[in-house]
Amino acid sequence: MLRFTIFRILHAVPLLVAVILAIFLMQQAIPGDPVQAMVGDFPVPPAFREAIEKKYRLNDPLPVRIGTYFNNLLHGDLGFSYHAQRPVLDMVLERAPRTILLAAAGFAVAIPLGMLIGVLTGTTRRRSMDQAGTTVTLILYAVPTFWLGQLLVILFALKLGWFPTQGMGPLLSQATGLQWVLERLHYLALPVAAFAIHDGMRVARIMRASVIDTLGQGYIVTARAKGLRRSAIIWRHIVRNSSLPLVTIAGYAIGSALGGAVLLETVFTWPGLGLLLIESIRTSDNLMVMGVVIFSALAVVTMNFVVDVLYALIDPRIRHQR
């Protein structure tokens, strides 16, 4: 396992270097004036521009800046955001857990929900139920997450008043312990619902196809020939074997959740990495953008790793074959 881990980490290094270089060059191409962004929509006094550019060495030649960046990176330093006036790493570490919380909660609902629907519609005895299930699934899947989020807010926050409209917790709360957890859940409910409905339905569709595929496998015949109950066949033989395609897709989706987070966090003012990314792009806070993207690249790499491990856990053949 250790060797495997090291191997994968080494494997990821070129990818990360490429990502960093790519973004560095890309940002070079995007016109942006961080100093202007700091001042707003009034002209920047030359003295101020000079002060900022000198302090943060914005005018160093590109190779020098790239060199410095990589050098810092080797020392675990993601640079200093002149816009936020804070180390990038600090900011990323502060925001990342929030996005992770949102994504984790989202997937924690979406995956089981989707699997359940997928298994139920895939194995149902009644065609009508399958039909109804798949229809509803498809319709819900087709609703864009961000729009769904807005609709949920209007219905459940504004009309019914059940949930807060935005944010990740009450600003004045002193709650601790269970109270705190409940508060968080209260605020998580709507974003997670918006997320889980779309992604859950995607999972459901994949799961259903996979279940149907599994149903065609010989060992299901064997299980029937053993005289097992329907439920036993489903839970013991179908669910696990149908999960494999899901693992790949879920792994990819979780790893790249940042893309979706941008929209979801925008809709719910969830102060995570997605909002940070948008904000940083809009203020040409290049180092911060790099930081966020590096984090997301790491997330992708990590999830690929987790997927491989999960694969081996779910399918014992993979450990030894090939």
């Binding site: 060797r3 495997f4 191997f7 993979i318 450990r319 030894h320 090939r322």
Partner: protein, 273 residues
């Protein structure tokens, strides 16, 4: 006896497999220092247990694999060093028939298309003569009337017909030797016989030689001039007398496991064991 058309010299083929995670490598010698001569016009049967490297050997003869060590030679020249002309000669001289006829024909090409590409690639006939050329070859493997097969897709042919098309396609280049990897095993018992007959007929008519890989010891006994027995990546025994006088332990075991197609003997065999 003439010089061998194909030969293996101390060939080793190692497969490196990585498991899914891509770390721990596994090396497996599918072939382990095998030497073999194949002569023009002879039928060489290769038998052996499953996984002993028979298909690997076939791939090497067909230059579908590169040997890890050792050399495969065509008329005495290593396959790696063939000149352009020699390479063209090699490709024309050595052809193949595969185990699963439906898999070895492109499922999305009609017979005429499949064969037409070969005609054009090797300039076997001009545009006007193409259809005639193909029909001639189809007829020669017993697909009559050939015209009725031209526009069919493989899945519109029976297994036996598919295998005939595959053989016809291999024969188009007038090869000197055909490497056939389990050409019978996916066919019905009743069709196996027909294909064997066809191969025999072709051999008589055109002098083409065969390297046949098969599990069917009865059939090999009937058709082969020479037999090689493989076991765990090596040829453990080779010769014309293998069935009559097996020398190696494994060969004996193999022969003993044959079920005689006669109830009394078969039952006796089970009782003995």
């Amino acid at each position: 006896m003439t010089a061998p058309i194909l030969s293996l010299h101390e060939v080793t083929q190692t497969y490196v497999s990585r498991n899914q995670q891509g770390w721990r490598r596994r090396y497996q010698n599918a072939l382990d220092g095998v030497s073999l001569d194949v002569h023009e016009g002879e039928t060489l049967a290769i038998v052996g247990e499953s996984g002993s490297g028979k298909s690997t050997l076939a791939k090497l003869l067909l230059a579908l694999n590169k040997p890890t060590r050792g050399e495969v030679r065509f008329r005495g020249t290593s396959l790696q060093q063939l000149s352009g002309a020699q390479h063209a000669d090699y490709r024309r001289s050595v052809q193949a028939v595969f185990q699963d006829p439906s898999a070895s024909l492109n499922p999305r090409m009609q017979v005429a298309e499949s064969l037409g590409h070969v005609v054009r690639r090797h300039a076997l006939a001009d545009a006007d003569g193409e259809a005639g050329c193909i029909e001639g070859h189809l007829a020669s493997v017993g697909l009559v009337p050939p015209a009725s097969f031209m526009t069919r897709y493989p899945n519109q042919l029976s297994g036996g017909q598919q295998q005939r098309v595959a053989i016809a396609r291999a024969m188009m280049l007038a090869p000197r030797i055909i490497v056939a990897d389990e050409p019978l095993s996916s066919l019905d018992v009743s069709i196996q016989g027909q294909i064997l007959d066809l191969m025999r007929a072709l051999k008589q008519r055109t002098g083409v030689g065969f390297v046949i890989i098969s599990h069917d010891l009865h059939a090999m006994e009937a058709i082969a001039d020479r037999v090689a027995v493989m076991h765990q990546g090596r040829i453990v025994e080779m010769g014309t007398e293998v069935f009559a006088r097996p020398q190696h332990e494994y060969t004996k075991l193999l022969l003993a496991a044959r079920l005689p197609p006669d109830p009394r003997q078969a039952r006796a065999r089970l009782a003995i064991a």
